[in-house]
């Protein structure tokens, strides 16, 4: 049974973690630990794909509860995602891990992190779920803190720890409200109960906040662009590509599975948060210079897209439109899977660049395609996929999401009929901006001429890292060419949650997908690919045949500047400037001021730009200030005399007794 197999894998991972912490430096060196992790993940992945569904109770944990585990169709999908992503990251780390400063600070936590994520997905009661959730959070926190000398990591670690605690707290409250009448925390018992209206709404809000803050929904994303880049790159890939999916799993599990029938207005907060995260995430990514932070912001955008799909699925499910709900949920799950693939490649590539050049700032890179050709090819595929270009997988899943939005006029509620097209516009905007963002990232870092000396000494990364990037890039292409196979793979989980599934796609001619029951639309990635190839071939032949072969050498037109240094190239800030000017005043409250030197001063004039992170300033800082003020207030209590403490006890006692007399 899959659940037994996965449990054994988790046990093996945890033992590996303990061995890596306690074992000898030689016996449990980096490549061995990562290699072991990769093999275990592969086993778990195969088990998730081919296994059987079932449940299991182990006599550990709380004595009256035990530990419930199960693998159902939904869990199997996410198990496959986690273990594929985890195995890929481990394979990458066999090579990448050699460059770590302090491998002993990373090695023990890496397998424990993957084990925690697996356990979250197979947990079948609230206690086990939250326990595994905390294992996942703490292991990833330790990984974020692995380079604790950097001030950035310390700040990221503190913020991450607070947000992780907060998200666990809200999930705890959500499960508390969901608990079955006789206080049972097993998921099987929770499913039966139906909550009165306001309580189910509260559970939805808590699940959205708890899972959303882990997944990086706006405005709870603040920790994500700090923590994801601070970790080593293979861990960043895991956190961005896989851990956010575990959070999405938690949301689906609570809202679609445990909470019972949906109400139409539940879709409103989910869609709004998703739309906001999609646009704001990518806008932040566009402004970012740090390659890994850019990728982290882009994760927020993609999580937003997944949540848009989930919100649509809720709306359709509440209105008893199972086919449309199945389409929305398939799109969401498909996009989650795709994002795992391409975001992993992107973080692997960013890590390779970091190792080769020591730079994360794209303004100091450039021309990497010549020194790192294979990584550059993989990165190009991933950048195209995340930008939603056909025939790659990002296009397929975003196309499915748009198809769902096009069904929305059939919804009966006016509110949703107005909201969904708005969210669709936001989604389209986000997709376009994502393309701009990755054109910028790829164009500045990989193309052109080197902007600093560090690129010239760079070299291609090692073969394990290349293998991991190559495999995932190939999977991006395959998932884009044959989306029908993946959609069929997801259909069992979709069927379980919304009671319907997309029509079987594999039987169609030429492997196209036709998501609607009336077969009104279709997409064929393979056909698009073929046409692209033919067009490219024809174009190439036309150039070859019709073009002149005569070679003519001339000097480059230098626009009047005799010396065109690398700094005269298009810069990342320059590329983002038009977009910053359009959206900046609204989204970042940005301002630009030109500082002129006083007359007679020979100093150069300068332009200063200021941008604000509004979520941080309007949501987090007031909360921080309030907490600090309260702490300051309570700090005085620390220094009272014993007699005064005693008086407090006395007064509290008298006060309680008074309350008792007054209230009875």
């Amino acid at each position: 049974m899959t659940v037994v197999m996965v449990l054994w894998c988790c046990l093996a991972l945890l033992l590996l973690a303990v061995a890596a912490a306690l074992g000898g430096r030689r016996a449990f060196s980096g490549p061995r630990v990562y290699g072991g992790t990769a093999i275990i993940c592969l086993v778990a992945f195969v088990a998730a794909l081919t296994g059987t569904y079932g449940a299991l109770v182990l006599p550990i944990g709380l004595p009256w509860l035990g530990a419930h585990f199960s693998v159902d169709r939904l869990a199997a999908v996410f198990l496959a995602l986690i273990d594929l992503g985890g195995g890929g990251a481990a394979l990458y780390a066999i090579g990448y891990g050699r460059h770590e400063h302090a491998p002993r600070r990373v090695l023990p936590f890496f397998p424990a992190f993957i084990a925690g994520m697996n356990l979250v997905v197979i947990a079948n009661d609230a206690y086990t779920f939250l326990f595994a959730w905390e294992v996942m959070s703490l292991a990833s926190w330790a990984l974020v803190m692995s380079d604790n000398r950097a001030a950035d990591s310390q700040r990221a670690g503190v913020v991450y720890l607070i947000m992780a605690t907060f998200s666990a707290l809200t999930l705890l409250l959500a499960f508390g409200l969901l608990a079955a009448p006789h206080g049972s925390y097993a998921f099987a018992d929770m499913r039966g109960g139906t909550l009165p209206g306001w309580r189910s709404g509260l559970v939805l809000a808590l699940a959205l906040i708890g899972a959303g803050s882990k997944a990086g929904l706006m405005p709870l994303h603040a920790w994500l662009p700090l923590a994801h880049p601070a970790a080593p790159s293979h861990v960043s890939a895991l956190m961005s590509g896989v851990m956010t999916k575990v959070a999405i799993y938690a949301f689906i599990r609570i809202v679609f599975d445990l909470l019972g029938p949906s109400v139409w207005w539940w879709a409103v907060p989910v869609l709004t948060a998703g739309g906001a995260a999609a646009v704001l995430g990518v806008l932040h990514a566009l402004m970012e210079r740090d390659l890994k932070r850019l990728l982290a912001y882009s994760t927020i955008e993609n999580v937003g897209i997944v949540f848009i799909g989930l919100g649509l699925a809720l709306a359709f499910r509440a209105n008893a439109m199972p086919d449309a709900a199945a389409l929305a949920l398939s799109a969401a799950l498909f996009h989650a899977f795709n994002h795992m693939l391409f975001k992993s490649v992107l973080f692997f590539g960013a890590g390779s660049v970091l190792v080769a050049t020591g730079e994360r700032n794209i303004e100091r890179l450039g021309g990497l395609i010549r020194v790192m050709p294979i990584s550059a090819a993989c990165m190009l595929v991933a950048c195209m996929a995340i930008s939603g270009l056909p025939p790659l997988n990002g296009f397929a899943s975003e196309w499915l999401t748009f198809q769902t939005i096009l069904v929305s006029p059939r919804l009966p509620q006016w509110g949703l009929r107005l909201l969904v097209p708005t969210v669709g516009t936001l989604l389209a905007l986000a997709a376009a901006l994502a393309a701009a963002c990755f054109v910028r990232a790829y164009g500045i870092a990989w193309l052109g001429r080197p902007r600093s000396a560090c690129v010239e000494t760079a070299h291609e990364t090692d073969r394990y890292s290349l293998a991991a990037m190559g495999i995932f890039a190939a999977l991006c292409v395959l998932a884009g060419l044959f989306p029908s196979l993946l959609i069929n793979g997801l259909s069992a989980a979709v069927q379980q949650l919304v009671g319907s599934r997309l029509p079987s796609e594999t039987g169609l001619a030429w492997l196209s997908i036709e998501p609607m029951a009336d077969r009104s639309t279709s997409y064929n990635g393979f056909m698009v690919f073929t046409f692209l190839m033919i067009a490219a071939l024809v174009g190439w032949l036309a150039v070859r045949i019709l073009g002149s072969r005569a070679v003519r050498r001339a000097r480059l037109w230098d626009c009047g500047y005799p010396d065109l240094g690398p700094s005269s190239q298009y810069s990342a800030a320059g590329y983002a400037q038009p977009i910053r000017r359009v959206f900046g005043p609204l989204v970042f409250h940005s301002s630009e001021t030109v500082v002129m030197p006083p007359p007679g001063d020979l100093a150069p004039a300068s332009i200063r730009k200021r941008t604000h992170d509004l979520a941080w300033e309007m949501l987090y800082e007031p909360v921080c200030d309030a907490v600090l003020a309260l702490a300051e207030l309570f700090n005085r209590v620390q220094f009272f005399t014993i007699r005064r403490y005693l008086s407090f006890v006395f007064l509290a006692l008298v006060g309680l007794l008074l309350a008792l007399t007054l209230w009875q």
Partner: protein
């Protein structure tokens, strides 16, 4: 019936006497006098417990009464007396914070505890009912004493009278298991010993048993 009423009256009287003695403790500004009242307090407690034992025909309560008599009415007051003598504070007159005010507060506390306990225990045996209400006021007055006094020895006396109130409440509620009683008695004894040792250490270091000196030593606001 006659006997029952009589038993009730005696129990009530003894418990009332305990409250009265607690009130007396509040305005004793000399330590010897305070210790005398404390001894009397424990003696009345022992009588009250013994009376309960006789009325309810519960022989194990006699042990409680014995403990109260031997330890609380004889051993501890004697030890305290020696301690006060050796600490050379027996001539000190403690400034009690506003006797009148404290007494008024204590009366309010008695009213409060009656107000709390009488409705809660409605339907319980009337003997224990009154006892519990009065025991709560003894506990509260003990706490009040600990709060208002500066001298460590009088704080100890407050603590002892508080503990007497707890024992009274416990015997009123048909008594608690013997093991619990004995362990409570021992814990009080041990607490007494430890407090005594500490008092001497404090005395050695600061030349006073006024706890305010400790606060000054911490270098903080009073």
């Amino acid at each position: 019936m006659m006997l029952h009423d009589f038993a009730f009256d005696i129990a009530h009287m003894l418990a009332g006497a305990l409250v009265l003695l607690s009130l007396m403790m509040l305005y004793q500004d000399r330590l010897y006098a305070l210790i005398n009242v404390l001894a009397l307090h424990a003696l009345v407690l022992a009588m009250s417990v013994a009376w309960q034992a006789w009325v309810h025909d519960a022989p194990h309560l006699y042990i409680t009464a014995g403990i109260a008599l031997v330890f609380k009415a004889i051993v501890i007051p004697m030890a305290l007396r020696r301690m006060v003598f050796r600490l050379r504070v027996h001539r000190e007159i403690e400034t009690v914070v506003g006797t009148g005010l404290t007494m008024l507060a204590a009366i309010a506390l008695i009213a409060l505890s009656l107000e709390v306990m009488l409705p809660v225990t409605a339907g319980v045996d009337p003997v224990s009912r009154e006892d519990i209400a009065l025991a709560l006021s003894v506990v509260l007055i003990g706490l009040l004493m600990m709060v208002t006094r500066h001298n460590a020895v009088s704080q100890v006396a407050g603590f002892m009278s508080l503990e007497n109130g707890i024992v009274l409440a416990a015997t009123g509620a048909q008594g608690m298991p013997l093991v619990v009683e004995i362990s409570v008695a021992f814990s009080v004894l041990i607490a007494f010993i430890i407090i005594g040792i500490f008092l001497f250490r404090i005395r050695e270091r600061f030349d006073t048993v006024d706890v305010e000196a400790l606060d000054a030593f911490r270098g903080e606001r009073k």
